[in-house]
């Protein structure tokens, strides 16, 4: 197993360049949640030349819509959602300085091309491991679009949030590399 690398967003260029597809990482610090509806709004703001609700430069977006928070808990279940639904919006956010994304499942060619151009990394979290992942979330604050409910943008303070580098800055793609090894024709 590859060594685990600790990342504290905002990500620095040097640490981003060092990450290789297959590396295990642990996030500690701040990450932001955003999924379908929030992406549409963020891109709408950028296209209108307006400011985003947070400074996206160097930041990491986590594609999740958590379940409601039961009493005594920090957050409900909070696993990743399918990333490809964000693909149409992602290059615009990468152009604006987004450096990392956490989700599940493969990305489109246009996203990967934009990641190479903008030097950004895509991380895979394990879909359906929503309770395990939620344990690494320490604080939650809704910072935009509360009316979107589970789709609101949340600032998460995380500690040792586990993920795998799925696509690195050079476009090496674990979703292509690994299945090839196990395919039987």
């Amino acid at each position: 197993m590859a060594k685990e690398i600790v990342l504290h967003p905002p990500l620095q260029i040097a640490e981003i360049e060092d990450l290789q597809a297959g590396d295990r990482v642990l996030f500690s610090g701040i990450i932001y949640t955003a999924r379908d509806a929030a992406h549409r709004r963020l891109v709408g703001l950028l296209e209108a030349g307006e400011d985003l609700p947070f400074d996206i430069r160097g930041q990491v977006l986590y594609y999740t819509g958590p379940s409601p928070t039961p009493p005594g808990k920090v957050i409900g279940s909070a696993g990743p959602t399918t990333s490809c639904r964000m693909d149409p919006f992602t290059p615009i956010l990468l152009n604006a300085g987004l450096k990392g994304m956490i989700g599940k499942g493969p990305r489109s060619k246009s996203v990967i091309d934009s990641m190479i151009k903008n030097r950004a990394v895509y991380f895979a979290a394990i879909g359906g491991a929503a309770v395990v992942i939620a344990r690494s979330i320490r604080e939650v604050k809704i910072i935009a679009y509360p009316e979107l409910g589970p789709e609101a943008i949340r600032e998460l303070k995380v500690e040792n949030f586990p993920a795998i580098v799925a696509i690195d800055t050079n476009g090496n793609d674990l979703f292509k590399i690994e299945p090839q090894k196990y395919r039987i024709d």
Binding site: P68, K104, G128, P179, Q180, I184
Partner: protein, 282 residues
């Protein structure tokens, strides 16, 4: 004739909503565990173990196994000798869901319209309800909570009759190949063959309800299921699409008579959380 008061239905539906989200069925846990020692990819093995850990933690902490707690699909088998009193059956189902999703801290994932405002209805209703009239004086209510990740990768095709069983098998494998890592593999694959356009889709969803440790009672379909599962698990997709042998846990097929010129096939993918449970009210 048997009278059943609608008010009996609400608490049962509420309970099932929470139960299927918090607790994995034993057949599912056994099936995942069975795959761990057979898995060749160390990463895949690790992911499968993590899924078991997640299932245990969810039950302990009374949290949903996945944050996508699904759209609720309800199959009602209504005995023809039952007389329902005290209210509206669909409303009772929806009220049970409303209560279950609120009390269970489950995510509300339904938007009121698909293409205009997409405003969340706020209570995870309305459910998708399929009612069938059957002999007897009981009501059986089967609840499933289907996440969008796997549902989005499902497909239906009207094959040409000449494509035959070979075409059916290829189509099923191709759907899973195209879906790749998106539907949260390892998946369970429900297949409907025959009927018509809408009936084969419904069959595909119903096929998912069969316990994972039960064989298809039709021996011809049973052998096709095994053959297709083996082909799928050679694709290399693996858990989460990150490579491995465990792409699917099972293939379940239901078939029905169809038109002489038709061969409809529907493939409904279900993620590894695979939530469903039933109650009989009498």
């Amino acid at each position: 004739m048997k009278e059943i008061d609608i008010s009996q239905i609400v608490p049962e539906v509420k309970r099932l909503c929470m139960e299927i989200n918090y607790r994995a069925s034993q057949d599912l846990v056994a099936k995942i565990q069975e795959c761990i020692p057979r898995e060749e990819s160390p990463l895949a093995q690790e992911i499968l173990e993590l899924l078991i850990k997640n299932i245990d933690l969810a039950a302990q902490e009374q949290l949903p196994m996945c944050q996508d707690t699904g759209a609720v699909i309800v199959f009602i088998e209504l005995g023809q000798d039952v007389h329902l009193i005290g209210g509206d059956l669909s409303e009772a189902i929806n009220e049970g869901i409303r209560q279950g999703y609120a009390a269970g801290y489950l995510r509300k994932s339904i938007v009121a319209d698909p293409v205009f405002k997409r405003n969340n209805t706020g209570d995870n209703t309305p459910a998708i309800i399929h009612t069938e009239i059957v002999p007897g004086e009981k009501i059986k209510i089967t609840l499933t909570a289907k996440g969008a990740g796997a549902e989005n990768m499902s497909e239906l095709r009207m094959l040409k009759t000449a494509e035959g069983i070979a075409g059916v098998k290829d189509f099923i494998v191709d759907v899973v190949r195209r879906a790749g890592g998106n539907p949260c593999p390892p998946v369970i694959i429900g297949v409907g063959i025959g009927g018509n356009f809408e009936q084969c889709a419904l069959l595909a969803k119903k096929a998912l309800l069969r316990p994972l440790n039960e064989k298809n009672p039709d021996s011809r379909l049973a052998s096709i299921e095994i053959e297709i599962l083996n082909r799928i698990n050679k694709l290399g997709i693996g858990p989460q699409g990150l490579g491995g042998r465990t792409t699917a846990l099972a293939v379940h097929i239901l078939s029905r008579p169809c038109h002489i010129a038709a061969l409809p096939v529907a493939v409904n993918l279900d993620c590894h959380v695979h939530r469903h449970a039933a109650v009989v009210i009498e």
